[in-house]
């Protein structure tokens, strides 16, 4: 077996393992042959371990042969030559994707082992692991994507699984409302991403990153576009990254995401999902070199997020929210580093931050127990830590900052006031007008409930009558 075949075999192994896991869990559920907890756990361990081994194998081969970029071509998924439309299945192992995919397997594997015990005998155990597998597949596809369409594919899978896992405890309304809120932010990010992908197609004639950034391995690529084109495509992708990574003004979804079970909070919003926006910016970083204005926008957004996260995190009263804003702070700094062109530092920062935050979030549920253990050991109460803020909450500036931090910058309220409420009000008026129009057209009295004579021949309001027969 020659070297290229070995690379291809291992590369396909990295991609196939998450796909196998989702297939097994999905098909058995669909056929109503659900697997037991132990079987799910074994499948998960096996697929993640084999995927990780394959990724490590690729890394070892790359290091031993000195190759810095290994493309894995799987052919055209869709090809319309006369329309110049093709969906190329190309994945790339390089200095960006390999660390990220190994990080993904390590953290997801750790969380899988943790969740197996944490969610033991939970009614939603299978649902959790199905979404977990969907997330893993999305992360691996996004990490290794050699075309913007493949990256979008993985990006969407990550988004859906994240939103549904926030709503994991779905018998209560609060997680569901928060899950929907996150989905709404993700849809904005997805729309911007899709438009960015289409713009990229039009600028370069295809969706391959090599067409945009040249054939040089990451991070030495040079953008083959003009400054204005780089700015236009880059701004769209920056909006997408801001939505996914919880940058200002979308930071509000990060603490909401903590409604999910601790394992998913740890791996998604503390470690991997929250860094996917930063990963996207790293992947298209040659665009930042091509447009100083774009780089400046990235730095500004990153710094604004870092400052806001640091402020808001200090006013949180629960540990998971405080950790969420701490994540936002670090992601903001990482984004600023990317904007400044410090790509390797940003990559190392991502890896370090993801590991630390995963550990912190996994330890969060046992924090109270730790406190009690320490208090038992010293035989008294632990001294509370005094705030070190210089302004102090007593001064007007301090009070304003405190209110600002406590209300999480008011970003969610601002979005509600400026976008959601006017939108709902406008279309409720349209709905009302339509109803009046159809009622008038029917010759019925406006405002009078529509009458039905279907229940026992007696005339009752249609809305009150149980019209299950309508469903026929």
């Amino acid at each position: 077996m020659d070297l290229d075949s070995l690379f291809k075999l291992l590369g396909q192994g990295v991609l196939a393992m998450p796909a196998l896991l989702i297939s097994v869990l999905g098909v058995t559920t669909l056929l109503q042959r659900p697997l037991g907890e132990r079987t799910i756990s074994r499948w998960t361990s096996a697929c993640v371990s084999l995927g990780l081994l394959s990724a490590c194998g690729v890394l070892a081969l790359m290091l031993s042969t000195g190759r810095r970029q290994v493309p894995i071509e799987l052919g055209h998924w869709v090809n319309l030559p006369t329309e110049h439309f093709h969906f190329h299945l190309k994945f790339v192992f390089d200095r960006l994707s390999v660390p990220f995919v190994i990080l993904t397997f390590v953290l997801v594997g750790t969380i899988g082992a943790f969740a197996n015990r944490y969610l033991h005998r939970e009614p939603g155990y299978r649902r959790f692991f199905f979404l977990y597998a969907l997330f893993l597949l999305g992360m691996v596809l996004a990490s290794l994507a050699g075309t913007i369409e493949s990256l979008f594919f993985g990006w969407e899978l990550v988004g859906l699984s994240s939103a549904l896992l926030v709503a994991y405890f779905h018998e209560r309304p609060a997680p569901v409302v928060n899950g929907f809120r996150i989905w709404a932010i993700y849809r904005i990010a997805d729309a911007a991403f899709l438009l960015g992908a289409v713009a990229l197609h039009h600028v370069t004639g295809g969706g391959e990153f090599s067409g945009l950034m040249g054939v040089d391995p990451w991070p030495q690529g040079v953008a083959a576009v003009t400054e204005m084109q780089a700015l236009a495509v880059g701004l769209l992708l920056l909006v997408a990254a801001a939505g996914k990574s919880g940058l200002v003004p979308f930071t509000g979804w990060l603490p909401r995401a903590m409604e999910g079970p601790t394992p998913s909070s740890a791996v998604f919003y503390g470690a991997l999902s929250v860094h996917l926006g930063a990963f996207l910016l790293l992947r298209v970083s040659p665009l930042l070199k091509a447009s100083p204005w774009l780089a400046a926008a990235v730095v500004a957004l990153g710094l604004a997020t870092a400052v806001f996260g640091a402020l808001a995190g200090r006013a949180q009263s629960d540990v998971k929210s405080a950790l969420a804003f701490a994540s936002a702070t670090q992601v903001g700094i990482i984004t600023a580093e990317i904007g400044l062109g410090l790509r390797y530092i940003a990559l190392i920062h991502i890896i370090g931050h993801a590991c630390l935050r995963t550990l912190q979030l996994l330890r969060a549920p046992t924090l109270l127990k730790d406190y009690h253990a320490m208090e038992d050991a010293i035989g008294g109460r632990l001294q509370p830590v005094e705030p070190v803020a210089s302004g102090g909450p007593g001064t007007p500036r301090g009070l304003w900052l405190y209110r600002f931090a406590l209300s999480r910058g008011g970003f969610d309220a601002l979005i509600d006031r400026l976008v959601v409420h006017p939108f709902v009000a406008l279309f409720r008026v349209c709905n009302s007008l339509e109803r009046r129009w159809t009622t008038w057209l029917c010759g019925e009295e406006v405002g009078r409930p529509r009458m039905s004579t279907e229940v026992g021949g007696a005339e009752v309001p249609a809305s009150a009558s149980v019209r299950t027969e309508d469903a026929a």
Partner: protein, 511 residues
């Protein structure tokens, strides 16, 4: 014209019609259901047979073997071509699955005989290319819902007014087309009249209220079977596209994109499940006509792909809502219902079909939407942006409805609400098609691309549209007569088609 190996089309049309007469002989509702299912199932098999046979013939169009209708009327009334080949089985599938998933407790209230007549009319419409015959069939197709509304003693006025307007414009437009003759271009007024008819039938805003009204007043199954096959879009492709200048198509496209956006926004503020479905369906179905733009092959390919994906996905979405409603009664979206624990499979299927409709990766809608957006951006970037925004809003609406219906609380009931075997079969079939089409999209996309090329070619031959190929030819052969140019275009089309086939084979080999 080449012949199919069997009279598939005639059988697909006649079997449900005869079935409708046959089931009227029974009084036992269960026997009616079984016989209706048999007739609809046979029609579906014939439709699939016609499609398969057509694909194996490698031709643009074909008609039945032993064509009795041709013998009687001396005209090729029933023909299968690139455009209609997948639509015929799709329509038959929607009808079959709707009848199959009708619970036994509801069979007394669902008119299987009327549904079979409607199926026969639908399949005849899709298998017909004669303009007058299409007009007559589309007119007749409006009758079954009207009769049901009458039978239920519901007000028919909204439906009647809109359909009367549609039929009036349709017949008037076609009469003008016939009067002006087939040679040369048609007057603007004629084209606009026909286009308006199709826009009304497709439910373009602000003439869409008949659709929400129908869903509120008719049974869910009847409304679903009437709108899901998107007969208005078919009429537009057959009657308007061959005669309309580019600016009329752009007008249709703009109106459809506006409808897609407006309906997506309206879906988000609905508080009743049926109105919600009507709007979200309207938003998606409008995207099919949005792909007309300037009748470029890329835009049309996207539109035809979206047609199939929306037909399957929204059909499944509607069937899920119908199944839920048949268990719980009318659902309000104002509060949470928490049905997941009782009907997990329906919940998953609801999400899957909703996501497929919005073009989620891995489902049949993903590539379709990508091609549609690409085609739209080729014409104007604003259209592409509008389509993406509409899709994003629809994505919000799908998950919002999912959360409202299946989560948020614990649903207390002593009745078994779990999925029934017939429903499970419907769910599995549609899941297979949605995921299969999503994971292996090339055959479907290539087939839709051939159909789009054929539609563009027919417009080029009429002198209505000059595509890039046509432009090149005009530049090279200024002195050529139109017929020579057309024959050149035909040859190009054939060559491109062969090239695509070769590429398909190559990619299959690579796989």
């Amino acid at each position: 014209m080449r012949e199919l190996h069997l009279p598939w089309l005639e059988l697909a049309v006649v079997i449900p019609f005869l079935g409708s007469l046959w089931v009227r002989l029974f009084r036992n509702p269960d026997l009616v259901r079984r016989n209706a299912l048999l007739a609809s199932g046979l029609a579906l098999l014939c439709a699939i047979g016609a499609w398969r046979d057509f694909v194996l013939l490698h031709t643009f169009e074909a008609h039945d073997h032993w064509d009795v209708l041709e013998f009687l009327t001396d005209a090729d009334l029933l023909v299968i071509d690139e455009l209609s080949a997948p639509l015929i089985p799709l329509g038959a599938l929607v009808y079959f699955l709707t009848m199959l998933s009708t619970l036994r407790t509801k069979v007394k209230r669902f008119s299987f005989a009327r549904a079979l007549v409607a199926e026969s009319l639908l399949l005849a419409t899709f298998a017909c290319r004669q303009p007058w015959a299409i007009c007559v069939l589309m007119t007749l197709k409006t009758l079954p819902p009207y009769l049901e509304l009458r039978q239920r003693r519901e007000s028919t006025r909204v439906y009647r007014v809109h359909m009367a307007l549609f039929i009036g414009l349709l017949l008037a437009g076609q009469a003008f087309v016939a009067w002006e003759g087939s040679a040369g271009q048609h007057s603007t007024a004629t084209v606009l009249i026909l286009a308006s008819a199709m826009l009304i039938r497709s439910g373009v805003a602000p003439l869409h209220c008949w659709m929400t009204d129908l869903f509120e007043r008719a049974s869910f199954g009847t409304a679903l079977m009437f709108v899901t096959p998107m007969v208005g879009a078919y009429g537009a492709m057959r009657l308007v596209l061959p005669i309309a200048p580019d600016w009329v198509l752009q007008m249709i496209s703009v109106a459809s994109i506006f409808t897609a956006l407006y309906a997506a926004c309206m879906a988000l503020v609905q508080t009743e499940v049926r109105r919600f479905f009507a709007y979200i369906f309207l938003s998606h179905s409008s995207l099919v006509l949005a792909g007309l733009e300037s009748a470029t092959s890329s835009g049309l390919t996207g539109a035809l792909c979206v047609w199939l994906s929306v037909g399957l996905a929204m059909g499944g979405f509607g069937l899920t809502l119908r199944a839920i409603e048949s268990r719980t009664g009318p659902l309000s979206l104002r509060e949470f219902h928490g049905l997941y624990e009782h009907t997990p499979m329906l919940a998953v299927f609801f999400l899957l079909t909703g996501l497929a409709a919005i073009g989620f990766p891995g489902t049949i809608g993903f590539v379709a939407l990508e091609i549609l957006v690409e085609g739209a951006v080729d014409v104007t970037s604003l259209a592409g942006v509008a389509i993406v925004v509409a899709t994003a809003l629809n994505g919000l609406a799908v998950l919002w409805a999912y959360f409202r219906i299946f989560t948020g609380t614990r649903h207390q009931t002593s009745v078994d609400l779990s999925i029934r075997p017939a429903e499970r079969f419907a769910v599995l079939v549609l899941t297979l098609l949605i995921l299969g089409g999503g994971l292996l999209p090339q055959p479907g996309v290539a087939s839709r691309h051939h159909a789009a090329m054929h539609l563009v070619s027919s417009r080029t031959q009429s002198g209505l549209h000059v595509d890039e190929v046509g432009s090149d030819h005009e530049a090279e052969t200024d002195d050529d007569s139109p017929s020579e140019v057309n024959s050149d275009n035909d040859r190009d089309l054939q060559t491109q088609s062969d090239r695509d086939d070769a590429t398909d084979n190559q990619s299959t080999d690579t796989d």
